[in-house]
């Protein structure tokens, strides 16, 4: 047996966890069961009492508090009111205490965990930082004292002290004790924040240069946007189609590399409804910056409705421009890369477009998904996302209008 798996498939070998909800069915609604795979101990603290500063408590039935709330840009269609990352802002949601949000807004995403796993890591980070600040304070105090007390004021040379064995041993052992403490916290947090998945993935994310392909167990396919039901922990398989990428949604927990030739899996869960922004965290080539992903957490009912909608074939429209657009899509090179269920299937080197109009962003986060932006994108994707694999197809303006009309029907 290898000491550590150099290239072994990510067969994680820890004892399976026994927390109840992990084996619960995907769509099961478990009211009040946020923190389902939380480890016992201090993590539970937040769940039980609601850590008011960091994690606003959202009971079931409370209004959905999306993490990112966008301003509705003028002139857009009436699709869900969550703008692309270009325009999102952390804003206190209705009913939330603004002061309570100060810490997360200032200190940010990692100290604003929205899942049990992320919370464990945030706690570990906080604890480690406290230790670090104490040590730093000690060093600064010692150096400052030395600077103030021992400045050269003339006079004879100081005592030529060459060392002190006892002191040396003391300041070797003291860090050992501190580090033992941190190590203990680390070991505890490793399995608490990243429990070993006990089943095959509920959905698989396949990273491509520079977008995310998403397949659900149910057969639903989407891209650059993951929908999950709140309060349920899903197992996400992470794979790569080309180079190494990294799946990371900071508020929801650890990042994991998507490595060609192997598959990893992690838990994904959100306490409360909202849109959580993630990104590829491993440098993967020219458009690494615009390989963003959104996790949309919604109530189990909404999620079920979304999944049902996504499983359906593409809508057809009787509007002539949309029909012309559908025809163009099948005729031109689009179908070589993109699939639309019912109008060209099988291709996956570009995102599946069957329910394109449902998505919030274009080009893995580079633009908000609106008819205007879509038209601009079709005109010249290389201008908006230079180097991406979508070529400038030299469409005429009428062709673009037909495409936009068609894609807008794909809900």
């Amino acid at each position: 047996m290898q000491v550590f798996p150099i290239d072994a498939q990510s067969k994680l070998t820890f004892a399976p966890l026994t927390h109840k909800s992990m084996s619960e069915p995907l769509h099961a609604s478990t009211p009040g069961s946020t923190g389902v795979h939380a480890a016992p101990g201090r993590v539970q603290r937040h769940v039980d009492h609601g850590d008011d500063v960091r994690v606003p408590h959202h009971g079931p039935g409370s209004p959905p508090p999306p993490t990112f709330v966008g301003k509705k840009p003028a002139g857009t269609s009436g699709r869900p009111d969550i703008a692309g990352p270009a325009r999102v802002h952390f804003l206190p949601t209705e009913g939330q205490d603004r002061r309570g949000r100060v810490a997360p807004v200032v200190l940010g995403t990692l100290l604003d965990p929205r899942s049990p796993g992320a919370r464990v890591i945030a706690d570990l980070f906080g604890d480690t930082l406290i230790v670090c600040f104490l040590i730093f304070g000690l060093v600064v105090a010692l150096v400052t004292t030395a600077i103030l007390r021992f400045r050269d004021k003339g006079g004879p040379p100081p005592a030529q002290n060459e060392g002190n064995k006892r002191l040396e041993i003391a300041w070797t052992l003291a860090p050992v004790l501190v580090l033992l403490g941190i190590f203990y916290l680390t070991v505890r947090a490793v399995s608490a924040s990243d429990p070993v998945p006990d089943r095959a993935p509920d959905l698989t994310v396949i990273a491509h240069q520079w977008w995310w392909e998403v397949h659900y167990k149910s057969g639903a396919v989407t891209a650059n946007e993951i929908h999950i039901p709140t309060g349920t922990a899903l197992v996400v398989g992470v794979e790569s189609a080309d180079v190494i990428h990294d799946f990371w949604v900071p508020e929801l927990g650890r990042k994991i590399d998507a490595i060609p030739g192997r598959s990893a899996s992690i838990w994904l869960q959100a306490d409360a409804p909202g849109t959580y922004i993630g990104a590829c965290a491993e440098y993967c080539g020219v458009q690494h910056a615009w390989m963003r992903i959104q996790v949309v957490a919604e109530s189990p009912e909404e999620f079920a409705a979304w999944e049902k909608r996504t499983l359906a074939a593409a809508a057809t429209s009787s509007a002539p421009d949309a029909q012309r657009g559908a025809h163009l899509f099948a005729q031109m090179t689009c179908v070589k890369c993109h699939a639309i269920a019912g109008n060209g299937e099988g291709a996956n080197s570009g995102p599946d477009l069957t329910h394109f109009a449902d998505r919030k962003t274009l080009g893995a986060g580079v633009r908000k998904n609106s008819p205007e932006e879509l038209a601009r994108w079709l005109k010249s994707p290389q201008e908006i996302k230079p180097g991406c694999h979508m070529p400038d197809v030299q469409l005429t303006d009428p062709q673009i209008a037909d495409f936009v009309a068609y894609f807008e029907t794909l809900r």
Binding site: F4, A281, G387
Partner: protein, 748 residues
């Protein structure tokens, strides 16, 4: 093994064959083998690359100053950050530290020059060559853009099709060979050329740390070289070492790169620790507190640094057990580092502190480096790393280590040693301005990056969405970078100004106590008129205080260690260091072979074990004949010496003929490097062994030629011959391993 007869203190000048004193004019700088001039060449060249790397840094910061910026296009941005990282590590920090080592190690140990002055010149000239190769990529289709650690498969041809990555590989190979040669030189110098009385426990800490760094270079760089060679074979010969689709392993590259990469962090840090350990005592008027602990903790760091590489790979998902093990190792390495910090503070404690610019940078180092070290501790807590790695938090972390640590150490050392190198003092007023602008600029640039990381900003993005606070923090960072840039300009102005009309420094402007201050500033070509007696760790202090303290007082570092028992021959020391380095290279190639072929014996069925076995016997026998040749030389039997030498060369040639015919057979049967992972690993391993045998044959050929030219007449000893002999035996031993693993295992 070491029955050397060279005197303890070697007369470097004698062996160089020409007199330094006559060196004049620009060409003399090209032809120089004087360690001081080579040191200055290293430093000046580094400054040029520092300018390039610094401008790249400013371009990065301009692009990131505000969200969704279009100042640079993404491909250019990616090339720039790749070049910035590669340049700063390989073309700025490493050569700067080597430059200081070159200049000061011989002076501090009371030697006339490095052990191998010509090798030293070669090491230097490989550095501008490597730098030129790397930058030539700009004219050959674009700079590399896969990041400074060129993760496979992004760095493989399908995803990086321009030649940038090939130039990156070649440049790093050239620089790697130069660094290893330089490190071997430092090892041989420190072991063999110390002045009488300079026991290993009395050498200045800068020398100690440089020595340990040299050992790290000798052991770590070949790992990188091995991996680079395989990546190059992937790219140029279409093999699949690091490509999943051909059966190769993507993650193997990361293991190899970081096995080099983490020791590399200490290669960049240890010499700076050494500089701080010189500067703080001198400006505190006290000896270093706990010399043994500062030196010993360096050894601990060096050893541990080879066992923590996978903490760079926590996000890769190696499994919890591996993550916990490497987290533990990483925390361990913090302990010897912490010991040093406390020792430096204790050195200041109770001293009389003089706040020269040099001392200011040294004290700032203590604070800034601790910040980098402590954020390192947060990374050792693996789950925190799962969140924070590959974000701006890690960018902040390693810049606090590399700038707050190494750069501040280098600046402290420059203000400290510039007077020795130039004879002129640097301007203290400009120096203080340089110091404060650097402190402000540096912390402004990098401290806010911690927050950016916590906010979730990934590193290596050419732009970012307009999320709350991102724009502001990035703008602060960019302004800070320009303040730093201004500070660097002040530094350069200070140097230029002081070289022309700085205050004369005198021999020892700081009342320092190590040997470099016992000679003129700048030192004359042969360094010392007379090396002062060394009876403790601070020879000049001892000299000045001898009458006051009485001559019988016990001096520090008195006991001898194994390194003092016998004088060592520099050629033998050098070749052992070389063998260690080569062994690391072959270990990587052998490991790769084993890793890919452990489970598949069938692939090796195409090998003819019997025939190769016969040829192998020739090679093994050549070690024996070479031994007879050495014996004959020692006995004064010149014809026997020549005869056995010829026999050795013939046996080696027969072996090479065997390998060539084996290759011929394999090629005609349709097998080549890119056929399968077996052939890739087989040809790479045996090919590199063959190359080493060929080089050995060339060296033996030169010895034979010298023998016929009468060079060995009346000599019963030749360290060169002995050194080449050791190398030849090593090559044979490698073949025993290769033959056993590649061929014999197949038969069993």
């Amino acid at each position: 093994m070491t029955t050397a007869t060279t005197p303890h203190v070697d007369d470097g000048k004698h062996e160089q064959g020409h007199d330094h004193a006559e060196e004049k004019g620009p060409f003399s700088w090209v032809a120089t083998v004087d360690h001081k001039r080579i040191g200055i060449l290293y430093l000046l060249t580094s400054i040029v690359f520092f300018g390039i790397g610094g401008i790249e840094a400013l371009l990065i910061r301009i692009q990131l100053a505000h969200p969704e910026s279009h100042f640079l296009d993404p491909e250019t941005f990616n090339q720039i950050f790749t070049m910035h990282g590669t340049t700063m590590i390989f073309l700025v920090v490493m050569p700067t530290l080597v430059g200081f080592a070159n200049y000061f190690v011989p002076l501090m140990i009371g030697a006339r020059d490095m052990a191998f002055p010509r090798l030293n010149a070669m090491s230097y000239w490989l550095f501008p060559l490597g730098g030129a190769l790397l930058h030539f990529s700009l004219f050959a289709g674009g700079a590399p853009s896969a990041g400074w650690f060129s993760y496979a498969p992004l760095a493989e041809t399908p995803f990086s099709s321009n030649t940038g990555t090939d130039y990156w590989i070649l440049a790093l190979l050239v620089l790697g060979i130069g660094s290893v040669a330089g490190a071997i030189n430092i090892i041989a110098t420190v072991i063999t050329l110390r002045a009488p009385g300079m026991t290993i426990r009395r050498v200045p800490l800068f020398v100690w740390m440089t020595f340990i760094t040299a050992i790290l270079i000798v052991l770590a760089l070949p790992v990188l070289n091995g991996a680079l060679v395989m990546l190059l074979i992937d790219r140029q010969l279409d093999a699949h070492f690091f490509q999943a689709h051909g059966g190769g392993s993507v993650i193997l590259w990361q293991h190899y790169f970081w096995t080099f990469g983490h020791p590399e962090v200490y290669i960049l840090a240890l010499p700076a620790f050494g500089m701080i350990s010189e500067v703080i005592p001198v400006f505190s008027r006290k000896p270093i507190f706990g010399y043994e602990f500062v030196a010993g903790s360096t050894v601990a760091i060096a050893v541990l640094s080879f066992g923590v590489w996978a903490h760079h790979m926590f996000a890769a998902g190696l499994g919890h057990r591996a993550d916990i093990a490497f987290a533990a190792g990483t925390m361990l390495i913090a302990i010897p580092t912490g010991v040093k910090i406390f020792n430096w503070i204790a050195t200041m404690w109770g001293g009389t502190l003089r706040f020269t610019t040099s001392m200011c940078f040294a004290v700032a180092f203590l604070i800034e480096f601790v910040i980098g070290g402590l954020s390192g501790i947060t990374f050792a807590a693996a789950p925190v790393d799962w969140q924070m790695t590959d974000t701006y938090y890690v960018v902040a972390h390693f810049h606090y280590v590399a700038l707050g640590g190494t750069l501040f150490g280098i600046l402290a050392a420059t203000y400290y040693w510039f007077p020795k190198m130039s004879g002129k003092l640097l301007d203290e007023r400009l120096g203080k301005l340089n110091f404060w602008t650097m402190i402000i600029g540096f912390n402004m640039t990098f401290f806010v990056q911690h927050f950016l990381g916590i906010l979730g900003m990934p590193r290596r993005v050419y732009t970012y969405p307009d999320l709350p606070n991102w724009g502001t923090l990035n703008m602060v960072s960019t302004i800070g970078a320009f303040v730093m840039g201004f500070s660097v300009l002040l530094f350069l102005v200070n140097i230029a100004k002081s070289v022309r009309n700085g205050k004369a420094a005198g021999d020892n402007p700081w009342d320092a106590w190590t040997l470099e201050w016992a000679t003129t500033s700048p030192p004359h070509p042969h360094n010392f008129e007379k090396v002062p007696p060394v009876r403790g760790r601070r020879p000049l202090w001892d000299l000045a205080n001898a009458t006051k303290e009485g001559k019988n007082k016990r001096k520090s570092g008195g006991t001898s260690t194994i390194l003092e028992i016998a004088p060592y021959d520099k050629a033998i020391v050098g070749v052992w260091a070389f063998i260690a380095s080569e062994a690391m290279f072959f270990i990587i190639l052998i490991l790769t072979f084993v890793y890919f072929n452990l489970s598949t014996k069938a692939a090796a069925a195409s090998l003819d074990v019997k025939t190769t076995g016969m040829f192998s016997i020739c090679l093994f026998a050549s070690s024996f004949t070479l031994h007879r040749s050495e014996k004959a030389l020692a006995a004064g039997n010149e014809s026997g010496f020549r005869g056995w030498l010829i026999f050795t060369i013939l046996l080696g040639a027969v072996f090479m003929f065997g390998q060539a015919s084996e290759y011929q057979k394999l090629f005609t049967s349709g097998l080549s490097v890119n056929t399968s992972l077996f052939t890739s690993t087989f040809f790479t391993l045996t090919g590199f062994h063959g190359l080493h045998v060929t080089l050995g044959l060339c060296a033996l050929g030169v010895i034979l030629w010298l023998a016929f030219a009468g060079d060995f007449k009346g000599r019963r000893h030749s360290s060169a011959f002995k050194a080449i002999g050791l190398y030849w035996h090593f090559v044979d031993i490698v073949w025993i391993a290769v033959f056993g693993i590649v061929y014999v295992r197949n038969v069993l």
